[in-house]
């Protein structure tokens, strides 16, 4: 392992754990202020007082706050994230069931964003001032300004309503899910259909993924294009680029190796922001596409004041965000050796 990297990783890991603990505590406290009575939610409106009382004890609501907090923490670590008040199912189980659907959109959206944004940013930096440059600047601004849910509706209108080339909603068409059902192995329909050689379902899944992913990709494309362009412009002005050019290094190497590697590290930070956005953006997109993912789950939990579920999702989403950032930090320090020593 390159020098200093191990120590850097250890430091960042420790910091991440502390922050996570603080986040859990904060969320727990906030959720406790929920006015509605969890026990009542649990047993339903038609229950008797005795049943409600039993529910209170069962849910541990009679114990003092710090005991509840401690047992919650222990539960988190051991995999017991509480029971959904509405569905009486394990919160963690629910989250893991709905997660793959959301992840499919998020991953595809960010892949699209990187594959579009970085080349666009590089080319517009190299051809600064040209028509391509102006066009990409406009695209970037449009990307970060467009309301994702509105964009999603427009995509539906265009590709389903007018052109009839892509499906309206859901993860699979009705007939495919009846005649070519996807066997659940990982929960990722893309993977599962591939693993079981279910080509019809595979194609259908991709067709359904396309519009939600594009809608979610708009903002990241804007961020990444803008960041890559401005970093490349800055880097191309640096003395070491002048030195390389003056001594005849091939232009292709200069742009795509010497300049890009320097420009890419701040772009990675932006990718972290993009993932954070994706997590919450997914909520909005899933509503529009009727997508059975974590976003829809969260929304229902909020509407029904299902606080263990809300708590669970928030902590999960935050954990995910922290892990992504940690990963990006480590990747950054691997790419740029100067960062390790700060």
């Amino acid at each position: 392992m390159p020098t200093g990297l191990a120590r850097y990783i250890a430091r960042r890991l420790a910091l991440a754990l502390i922050v996570l603990l603080a986040v859990v505590t904060f969320t727990f406290i906030v959720a406790r202020v929920v006015p509605s009575d969890p026990a009542e939610l649990y047993v339903g409106p038609k229950a008797t007082a005795a049943q409600r009382e039993r529910a209170r004890i069962e849910l541990g609501l009679d114990k003092p706050l710090y005991v509840q907090y401690a047992s919650y923490l222990l539960g988190l670590v051991s995999g017991n994230w509480g029971i959904s008040l509405r569905a009486h199912t394990s919160v963690l189980g629910d989250i893991l069931t709905y997660l793959p659907a959301t992840l499919e959109i998020i991953i595809l959206a960010n892949i699209i964003a990187v594959m579009v944004g970085i080349p666009l940013g590089v080319y517009s930096a190299v051809r600064k001032g040209s028509l391509l440059d102006q066009a990409s600047r406009l695209t970037a601004i449009a990307g970060v300004s467009i309301p994702s849910f509105w964009f999603a509706l427009l995509l539906q209108l265009l590709f389903f309503g007018q052109l009839h080339v892509l499906p309206l909603e859901g993860r699979l068409s009705v007939d495919v899910s009846l005649y070519y059902p996807v066997k659940t192995i990982t929960g990722f329909y893309v993977l599962d259909s591939l693993l079981t050689l279910n080509i019809v379902a595979f194609v259908d899944t991709l067709r359904h993924l396309l519009l939600p992913a594009i809608a979610l990709a708009a903002y990241p494309i804007g961020l990444i294009t803008r960041m890559t362009r401005s970093m490349m412009i800055e880097v191309l002005r640096e003395t070491y680029i002048r030195f390389a050019r003056a001594n005849g290094i091939v232009e292709r190497l200069i742009i795509f190796k010497h300049a890009l590697k320097n420009a890419i590290t701040p772009t990675l930070t932006v990718l972290g922001l993009s993932f954070a956005y994706s997590i919450t953006g997914a909520v909005l997109i899933e509503i529009v596409f009727g997508w059975p993912g974590l976003g829809t789950y969260t929304l229902n939990a909020i509407i029904e004041a299902d606080y263990p579920a809300i708590l669970g999702v928030t902590i999960f989403g935050t954990m995910f965000y922290i892990v992504i950032n940690l990963f990006l930090d480590i990747l950054q320090s691997y790419l740029d050796p100067r960062v390790r020593f700060t």
Binding site: V19, A31, P147, Y277, T280, V283, T298
Partner: protein
């Protein structure tokens, strides 16, 4: 070599000169001015103000765009153009309020943290770290779940999500500025810490805050529209753009006009704020200032 600096015209004329040079930024400014004008005179500009505020007109349901109703009518027969015009008041006020509140909370904290350093700095920074670890809307959502849905609560929740960014910016500025000689000079004379902060550090740190704030206005509008879309922000019958898109969503295929135009308004004003913020940043960034070498 004698470097002769461009004669220092006053800052404002420099800014004006540079803004007008860039066509895109000018467009942004023009759009912002237009929307502010619309927002200020909304009740007079809306052709059907009563409908704009929510009074239904069932016989006029689902009318497509026409001269009488340039944006068509919605599912309750209300004129969409009027609703969009009145909605501008909500969006602009909310966006400005959210960012202003975030700046008011965050900037002093950052100034104190950066200037005083030590344990206070550490504590404040850890708190911002915790807040910044939440994916932005998730925090707002959970706060709203506690406080209950509504426009005011949405504003408060969003401000609470945003303030850490300004604390960070302000702190960085304070840290770099506290080493400057004029700060030492002030302290030697005996100026108290508080006054040093207010009169020497704050004014010089304002630029990045201003730039960030302008660009954040666009994000604030989008966030607030998003929350209303979910149902946690503005409630019916307010003519809020996100809410309109939400209620219009199911009709997109048959009556496309009434979720489309509010969204267009959000898009336009967000683009405008971004263009303006971009332009502002390019101007105020010292690296892009030009010097003439003799």
């Amino acid at each position: 070599m004698t470097i002769r600096r461009q004669k220092r015209r006053s800052e404002s004329s420099l800014i004006f000169g540079l803004i007008t040079r860039d066509a895109l930024t000018m467009c942004g400014v023009a759009i912002i001015v237009f929307f502010v004008f619309v927002a200020v005179f909304a009740p007079f500009l809306a052709p059907y103000p009563a409908e704009g505020y929510g009074v239904p007109n069932p016989p006029n349901k689902f009318l497509p765009p026409s001269f009488a109703h340039p944006f068509g009518t919605d599912y309750l027969g209300r004129d969409v153009l009027s609703r969009v015009i009145l909605g501008s008041q909500i969006s602009l006020v909310v966006a400005v309020a959210v960012i202003a509140l975030a700046i008011i909370i965050g900037t002093p904290l950052g100034a104190v943290a950066g200037y005083l350093g030590g344990k206070i700095d550490e504590t404040i920074m850890r708190i911002t770290d915790v807040f910044l670890s939440f994916p932005s809307l998730l925090l707002a959502i959970i706060l709203l779940a506690t406080l209950g849905p509504g426009l005011t609560n949405a504003m408060i929740s969003l401000s609470l999500t945003w303030w850490p960014w300004y604390t960070r910016i302000m702190r960085a500025q304070a840290v770099s500025l506290r080493e400057r000689t004029y700060v030492d000079a002030a302290k030697v004379i005996g100026v108290s810490n508080f006054w040093v902060l207010v009169r020497h550090i704050l004014p010089n740190a304002l630029t990045p805050i201003l730039v960030q704030g302008t660009m954040d206005l666009s994000s604030a509008i989008l966030a607030e529209a998003g929350l209303s879309f979910i149902g946690l922000g503005a409630q019916a019958p307010l003519p809020e753009w996100g809410l309109m898109i939400s209620t219009g969503r199911i009709y997109i295929l048959n009556y496309w006009w009434f979720p489309t135009f509010p969204g267009l308004a959000i898009f336009a004003i967000a683009v405008a704020f971004n263009l303006f913020g971009d332009g502002l940043r390019e101007i105020l960034d010292p690296k892009t200032r030009r010097f003439v070498e003799a």
